[in-house]
């Protein structure tokens, strides 16, 4: 009795109180996963042709190539929803990592130059090699994203004084603008802007199995890596001096983190185009729900991000059956009011 009461009284005096809510986090993960499963089922079953859940079930577990419905599910809908879930999880986690590392609440993976790099690669493809197959477009777009990331990382590291969060942020903004300017210039000159916009905003429509198989191991690897390194992100988010003071070797950790962000976001951009707002919205939402510990922020972001993209993709298909509303635009239109509410409610300064 005595001991327990002592424990209870000593807890609030703990010197650094990290606001974290593990129970909330765990329930988010659990409920989120269930909702995600439900969302996946619904998304597979409804569409231009409604297919009942029993058929969906049998199509997945007892696939019969003679049935058209099984074919539709297998060839069109399943890869699409799975890609959506993976892309959502990746972008949300990449955004959360960027915000933690740079300590800038505005950071997301777009700041690493990934979107701009992929855009430039796409512009070049559309202008000079029209009619490339989808898979090679995807490959080039990933190469472009990598190029953007490497440029920023390189410039940040060669500069005297090292890769500070501030320098990274500024280099990211400048290089993104530069690459964007080039791709806009090319798009204007060769009049390919509209098809680029379409591809860019296209989301996960038209994803095929081979792409899903290609991206799956990398995305899962990236997510696991992010989880393993998440406690270092928490430390970095309190400030680099703080992390160094606690004996952390900052540079190798940072390089590893960047590599993960590059992988997650680069693949997502290559598969789904730019779904911009999600990397900002989900981490902020998660932080408001579960506190500042990245060991919880990362998995919760992954689940919520996946859920959001699956739901939005489903919505985009249902709004107007014949015309696909761009998923990125839909996410932004739903997410913005919500995000504004979140920002307004937040009492703490996020810097």
């Amino acid at each position: 009795m005595d001991i327990s009461s002592k424990k209870g009284s000593s807890e609030p005096q703990h010197p650094i109180q990290i606001k974290s809510r593990p129970w909330a986090a765990m329930s988010i993960i659990l409920i989120g996963l269930l909702a995600l499963l439900l969302g996946l089922m619904l998304s597979v079953s409804f569409g231009a042709k409604d297919i009942d859940l029993a058929t969906v079930w049998s199509a997945i577990f007892r696939f019969n190539p003679d049935l058209t419905e099984h074919q539709v599910i297998h060839a069109l809908r399943l890869p699409r929803v799975l890609a959506g879930a993976m892309v959502g999880a990746s972008l949300a986690v990449a955004g959360a990592m960027m915000q933690g590392m740079t300590r800038n609440p505005l950071a997301d993976s777009g700041l690493l130059g990934l979107n701009a790099g992929a855009g430039l690669a796409l512009a070049l493809c559309f202008a000079f090699f029209p009619g490339l197959p989808f898979l090679s477009l995807m490959l080039f777009s990933f190469l472009g994203a990598t190029l953007g990331g490497v440029l920023i990382f390189g410039i940040g590291s060669i500069s005297m004084g090292g890769l500070t969060p501030m320098r990274l942020t500024l280099a990211g903004a400048a290089i993104s603008a530069l690459l964007l300017a080039f791709s806009q210039g090319i798009a204007l000159h060769y009049r390919v802007g509209q098809s680029m916009t379409f591809w860019y905003a296209g989301g996960v429509a038209g994803t095929r199995w081979d792409q899903v198989e290609l991206m799956f191991p990398w995305i899962i690897g990236g997510l696991i890596g992010a989880m393993l390194l998440s406690r270092f992100i928490t430390l970095l988010s309190f400030g680099e001096e703080f992390a160094v003071g606690l004996g952390m070797r900052v540079l190798p950790i940072k390089i590893a983190l960047f590599f993960i962000v590059l992988m997650l976001a680069g693949i997502s951009v290559a598969v789904a185009g730019v779904i911009g707002f999600i990397g900002l919205l989900i981490p902020h939402l998660t932080r408001a729900l579960v506190g500042v510990d990245y060991r919880w922020i990362i998995p919760c972001s992954a689940v919520l991000g996946a859920l959001l993209v699956v739901a939005a993709d489903f919505g985009a298909r249902m709004i107007n059956m014949s015309f696909e509303t761009p998923v990125g635009a839909l996410i932004a239109l739903i997410g913005v009011p919500f995000f504004l509410y979140l920002v307004r409610k937040e009492r703490r300064e996020l810097t």
Partner: protein, 338 residues
């Protein structure tokens, strides 16, 4: 405020003087070159003769009715956007703030899209209608943002402001994408050029419309520059030093919005000037706003003038050239600084 300048400021002052003289010379040089550039070729001597009233009618027409207003507008826009960006970076204390973050570009963009969606035949409309609409769109977006970020009793918090700004811009951009996909190819091309930032208000009427904003706002913020330095110390210290933090923040924000909206209406989104000119200036002459604001204005003016001159030779919107020239130089500075 002497405590703020405890470091020896003579070398700094000399540096600022050199900076201002260099920029002034550069602007003058580019001005002359810009006067020579265009479909009607003129030697520098011809330009100077025409300026003093000695040229042929054709030369006078080209200079006074086409080139000069465009040059003046470039200078004004560059200065306005750069100062707007500098103010914003100071007010929200975030280095990646630029006028685009207020949603003004997106607001103007949505208006332009709506306009060309519902009046596809844009030649019928009077020439001033589009800038007016763009101005309205830009101001509405900024107004919406401030209303969203402002909270009774607490006022404006920088982080809330900037996050809301990004959100508003994202929402408007999404709206724009939905509208854009249905446009036909020619109209899309027009919109893309607008969004990339090309100066399309190119006669004296636009100069007259733009000038009052800058003539009133720029001296005002230069005069108030010291308060911005205080804001940069953080709210608590600034309040302690006697700065009216909330009022100052609102004032500067309003100034930044007015500058950005009026410039974007004439130029499209050359928002990058607002991001990069203040940063370059900061790295060259330091962070005291009294020097920084005018320095940003001149740098911005120079950048846009160069970009617009080049964009007449190679057919690319000025906004893109600003990024293509400004970003590498900025990166060089970034890498060089300790």
């Amino acid at each position: 405020m002497n405590t703020l300048r405890s470091e020896p400021h003579n070398p700094k002052q000399a540096r600022a003087t050199v900076f201002f003289i260099t920029i002034a010379i550069l602007i003058a040089a580019v001005f002359i070159i810009s006067m020579n550039t265009g479909s009607l070729s003129m030697s520098p001597l011809d330009v100077i003769r025409t300026l003093f009233g000695q040229g042929t009618d054709q030369q006078k027409l080209a200079l006074f009715d086409f080139r000069l207003p465009r040059i003046v507008i470039s200078l004004l826009i560059g200065a306005g956007l750069a100062v707007s960006g500098c103010l914003l970076q100071g007010v929200v204390r975030n280095p990646i703030a630029d006028p685009g973050i207020l949603g003004v570009n997106a607001g103007a963009g949505v208006m332009v899209v709506l306009f060309i969606t519902y009046f596809p035949n844009k030649t019928i409309a009077p020439v001033w209608l589009l800038p007016c609409l763009a101005f309205i769109g830009a101001s509405l977006a900024a107004l919406l943002l401030v209303m969203l970020a402002y909270k009774k009793n607490i006022g404006l918090s920088p982080t809330k402001l900037i996050l809301s700004g990004i959100a508003v811009a994202a929402g408007l951009n999404a709206l724009m994408i939905v509208l854009t996909i249905q446009l036909d190819s020619d109209n899309y091309q027009f919109l893309a050029a607008f969004l990339a930032g090309s100066i399309w208000g190119t006669d004296w009427r636009f100069v007259v419309a733009l000038l009052p904003w800058l003539v009133i706002i720029l001296p005002f913020v230069f005069y108030k520059a010291r308060v911005l330095d205080l804001l940069n110390l953080g709210d608590h210290i600034a309040t302690g030093l006697g700065a009216p933090v909330q009022r100052a923040r609102l004032t500067f924000l309003a100034a930044a919005v007015a500058l950005a909206a009026s410039c974007v209406a004439v130029s499209g989104s050359i928002g990058f000037v607002g991001l990069i000119a203040p940063h370059i200036a900061r790295r060259l002459i330091g962070t005291t706003h009294k020097v920084l604001l005018p320095a940003s204005a001149l740098l911005g003016a120079l950048l846009v003038l160069i970009a617009d001159t080049l964009s007449r030779v190679i057919d690319i919107p000025a906004g893109l050239i600003v990024a293509m020239l400004g970003a590498p130089y900025f990166l060089y500075l970034l890498a060089k600084m300790r």
